[in-house]
Amino acid sequence: MAVKVVKPGLSTTVQDLGRPGYYHIGIPLSGGMDRLALKAANLLVGNKEGAAVLEAVFMGPELYFTEDATAAVTGAELPPKIDGDMRPTWTSFKVKKGQTLSFDFLKKGARAYIAISGGIDVPVVLGSRSTYTLGALGGFNGRKLEAGDKLPIGKGRGAREGRTVPEKLRRLPSVPTELRMLPGLYWHRITDAAGRQFLEDTWKVAPEADRIGYRFKGGKPLEFVPREQPFGAGSDPSNIVDACYPYGSIQVPGGTEPIVLHRDAVSGGGYFMVGTVISADMDLIGQLQPHTPARFVEVSMAQALRARKDRAGLLDKIRASL
């Protein structure tokens, strides 16, 4: 069983739940940016939650099926079509041998998850099928899809047509978006006034937003607490002795444009960070389009853990609904 890529879309990659355990040598987790949507897509077609799917950004691919299968599209509102006929999102549908799955224009969100019964059966590399493009690792030949690629599909009976995630359980970020964060790491490097300003400002997603990190623009530059730079850090006040970067950490090179690192994060470097976006809000970042207004909202650890629990509860409800 295979699926032929007729058109690849803008940047479509194979992703699963990622590759933990190698961050210490610079190989990031990777995996779907919106993990909840990825799991829901798999559940809809009868796969294991962590099976490999396609993550399509802004624009869908065109895929030709050589066998019957069940498919589902979740995450961004990117309406699927079978041989030109519309199908609903967040709902399983059948694809017959010889049919083509294509997509209408993006309505909302940024990344759609395309699950196919049996899962995308590319080789497992370091425990995962996810694509890490920068390192040319995993996925389909370590890269985004190209026209003419033949995607191997695993064996799976596939769920019935018409299974659907109730609308109230689907998640896309609201506009303007609030990203909850725990101040910390090198927060002490900026003045109290700059800290307040950072949280009050409305930022906008910059065009440079990808799987490595999301850049934000439009807030005021941060003012640093003066110091003599420590040996080895470099001369700019935003420089630190190169250190590890947490997933979700918010670095601000030169104190001007915050970058939130995501699933394909660079594992470390020499820029200070003001804190970290909480795990419960990481999925939402992957659904932000350029120019979306966003604010960073300070929360406590207790609030972060409660939000994480709520997020897990949402997945439980999706499981129970199917």
């Binding site: 961050y23 610079g26 920068l134 190169d242 947490p246 950490s249 470390g268």
Partner: protein, 291 residues
């Protein structure tokens, strides 16, 4: 050297062993992270030592962040008596300094550099009071370098020059990072050297290029068959200046599977090294030459 702890969201704890870089701070990070690995704390998913800090990633559904913090503080206390001696290896890395590929790239991004009128090597030589390009190459390749962190991108080593602080080469990063760096560029930022394992963005000064791959996701290169990344923290690197003919020859040798990196097992003792750096380095380099 005061240890500073911070949560990195609800899934990480970030620990700064010291604000400034030193081999003492590196060894503190290494001994605590080694202790964390041995302790096999449930819920820990990543243990990442860095130059003068480290980071632990954990699953807060399995261990409460506050409990994780307690565990780390206990381990820090226990690791304080750790020995600063490690069994490691010294690896020779051939370098074509002033090569055409990094030269083309640095010219392309000249307006992002501190000194648009000279090359990265000329600039760094000047601000470090070295005698031009030749003086720079001599200083850069004269003493070995210590791998104090692996990361940024897959398998990229951060390298700390094993000489007195006053002789260490220092250079700022580009004013604005480049969007391109050739694969296997030998770079430098702050006090750290590096080898760019893959092509991509970068802000370090560019001095040369090595013909010897250090990352191979397909694991076809003979010496990367066991694992796709060459470097581990604690490795020691000795640069070997080469000319264009040797560069070309080595590229072909790597492709044909005939190239084996020169390396030797050594023991590194921080205390012994600090007593007589030049003498100690001579011994390390002797081991590389089979002496």
């Amino acid at each position: 050297m005061k240890t500073r702890y911070s949560y990195g969201g609800d899934e990480h704890i970030f620990v700064e062993c010291d604000e400034e870089m030193s081999l003492e701070a590196f060894f503190k990070s290494l001994s605590i992270t080694t202790a964390v690995r041995k302790a096999k704390i449930k819920g820990v998913t990543e243990i990442c030592p860095a130059n003068a800090s480290f980071q632990i990633k954990f699953d807060p559904d399995k261990i409460k962040p506050s409990d994780m913090l307690k565990e780390l503080k206990l381990l820090e206390k226990a690791a304080r008596k750790g020995k600063s001696t490690i069994k490691t290896r010294i690896i020779e890395i051939p370098v074509l300094y002033n090569d055409p590929w990094t030269h083309e790239t640095l010219m392309r991004f000249r307006e992002r550099h501190q000194d648009p009128n000279s090359t990265d090597i000329e600039y760094t030589a000047r601000i470090n009071n070295l005698d031009g390009v030749d003086g720079f190459i001599k200083a850069h390749s004269g003493a070995p370098w210590f791998v104090s962190m692996v990361g940024f991108v897959a398998g990229l080593p951060f390298l700390y020059q094993m000489v007195d602080r006053k002789r260490q080469i220092q250079s700022p990063k580009y004013l604005r990072p480049r969007t391109d760096t050739p694969k296997l560029t030998v770079g430098h930022g702050g006090c750290f050297g590096c080898i760019y394992s893959v092509r991509g963005a970068g802000g370090y000064q560019m001095f040369g290029i090595t013909p010897m791959p250090i990352y191979d996701p397909n694991q076809k290169i003979k010496y990367l068959k066991d694992f796709m990344c060459l470097f581990k923290p604690g490795d020691i690197v000795k640069w070997k200046p080469i000319d264009r003919a040797e560069y070309d020859h080595t590229v072909v040798a790597v492709e044909k599977g005939r190239f084996t990196p020169r390396m030797a097992d050594v023991t590194f003792s921080l205390d012994e090294f600090k007593k007589d750096m030049d003498g100690y380095n001579a011994k390390l380099m002797g081991a590389l030459n089979g002496r």
